[in-house]
Amino acid sequence: MRRGSASLNAVSTLALLFLYGPIFVLVLYSFNAAHLSMAWSGATLKWYGALLHDEALLTATANSLLIAAVSTLGAVCLGGLLALGMERMPSRRQQAIEGGLVLPLVIPEVMLGVALMLFFVSLAMPLGLMTVILGHIVFNIPLVTIMLRTRLRKLDPALREAAADLGADSWQVFRYVTLPLLRPALWGSILVAFTVSLDDFLVTFFTAGPGATTLPLKVYSMIKSGVTPEINALSALLLVISMGCIGVALHLQRREV
């Protein structure tokens, strides 16, 4: 568009400022020496230091990492097999499964949390790390499957056929052709699943019970219980970690052949 492109750029710049401004302020204030006021009184790293000595926080971090690691592993195994298995199905069945897999991603997360809580409670399963992991696998399977299927569909079937023609059995085709070609997408989906699990609040909130506090649950209770400057530092750290993971994941996705 020739005309009006200056105002267009102005609005876009404002929109980007709107997106990054709050994040920037939060990170900036995590270095603020003042205890309660928003006034800037010099830079400090003491809030980051305080995080290192917060026992409850370290436990929550350990829980979060454990949940993210186990649920990612579970989701990548189940979702990966699902993606591979779907390849062979008639296309109508593939579409049906794909439609079904979108469901957990579009229904409100509150609902998924509530439904899982009801399910576990009615099975008399004690809420804790285990139930959180089971729940996280539920929303990570669709993510992994969809990401891997996008990649699988782009693979040239001729490569697999060539391998088969050269006498490879289906395991060897998978091991030496499909898997190496799938590797970037596989790592990408691992990072995405890990990040989503690490950041999840609602499903964790409903399925955790009193014993299994995770980092987001801890952040939530810190926000609710009154503002300490430590939470700025913790938030800044979480932002950097998520952005890092996703940056790497996107890089891997783009590097695909």
Binding site: P22, A163, D169, L238
Partner: protein
């Protein structure tokens, strides 16, 4: 080339592919931990509440009828209103942004899109908290306004409906930009040029050329913003006051505070119905858009 008429080659060379039953464990998992729990919520929404918060398996419609109570009706209506307003504001902000990205130099586009998407991938709780820092009584916005002399005393910004809508717009703006970008990117700039050459006014170019041709993206973006907004929990919980409750908060309240599981389940299903209606609407639109324009 006659050979191309054959079915896709991966359907022929069965030996080179992995068997279907690999899909079974994943499907069982989703059935057990997704479909069964959803079914349970549905079943409980027709049960009665026990005296001490348990469930009595006596079939009733009472939970759904309770939702017509003015208090709940207000919360349902409020959620739709907030989500609708959020969608409208996201469109007004997102359209110029998407347009500018789609018309920027090709090598810059992936970078700009990444810039828009990156906040979406960061912790929602943390991003909402960032707005608490800005909107507080002694927050940056109030300090700025008082320093300017625009207001005598700090405005009440946090714990208001405005704060909820700001938070929702902030959270879901990227969802609007992405589909709009795709739509604008597909829009042939020559059509816009032609309209200019025919002396169309700026408004006419927008409403009669750009808008109709990007409609699939607009509908897609609006759905992607409306659906998560209407079911949001964190934003109204942290940025809204007691009066800015939304459906998500009502569900949480019924389940964890009042412990009226049947009513909470009924509310959940109403929310799900709203969301599903939006999804169906979206797919209808999407399949219609696959018509004549798609093949270009």
């Amino acid at each position: 080339m006659q050979i191309q008429e054959l079915p896709p080659s991966h359907e022929i060379s069965r030996s080179s592919c992995l068997p279907c039953w690999l899909a079974v464990p994943g499907l069982i998992w989703m059935a057990l931990f997704f479909l069964v729990p959803l079914g349970l919520v549905f079943a409980i929404s027709f049960a009665s509440r026990g005296t001490y918060g348990g469930i009595l398996w006596e079939f009733t419609f009472a939970n759904y009828l309770d939702l017509f109570h003015p208090l709940y009706g207000k919360i349902l209506g409020q959620s739709m209103w907030y989500a609708g307003l959020t969608t409208a504001i996201c469109f007004v902000l997102g359209f110029p942004l998407a347009y500018a990205i789609a018309r920027s130099p090709a090598r810059l586009q992936p970078f700009l899109l990444l810039l828009v998407m990156l906040p979406f991938w960061t912790n929602f709780l943390v991003r909402t908290y960032a707005w608490m820092v800005l909107l507080r009584q002694d927050g940056l916005i109030n300090r700025f306004l008082t320093a300017l002399g625009a207001v005598d005393r700090p405005l009440e910004l946090l714990y208001t409906p405005t704060a909820v809508v700001i938070g929702l717009v902030y959270g879901y703006l990227p969802f609007m930009v992405l589909p709009l970008y795709v739509a604008v990117e597909r829009l042939d700039p020559l059509l816009v040029e032609a309209a200019w050459d025919l002396y169309a006014s700026r408004w006419a170019v927008f409403t009669r050329v750009v808008l109709p041709l990007t409609k699939p993206g607009i509908v897609g973006g609006c759905m992607l913003v409306f659906i998560p907004s209407v079911g949001s929990f964190i934003t109204p919980d942290l940025l809204g006051g007691a009066r800015s409750m939304m459906i998500g908060n009502l569900i949480q309240h019924e389940y964890l505070v009042v412990r009226d599981w049947p009513l909470g389940s009924a509310v959940s299903f109403v929310l799900m119905a709203v969301v599903m209606a939006a999804v169906v609407l979206y797919y209808r639109q999407a399949s219609r858009a696959d018509g004549p324009l798609e093949g270009r």
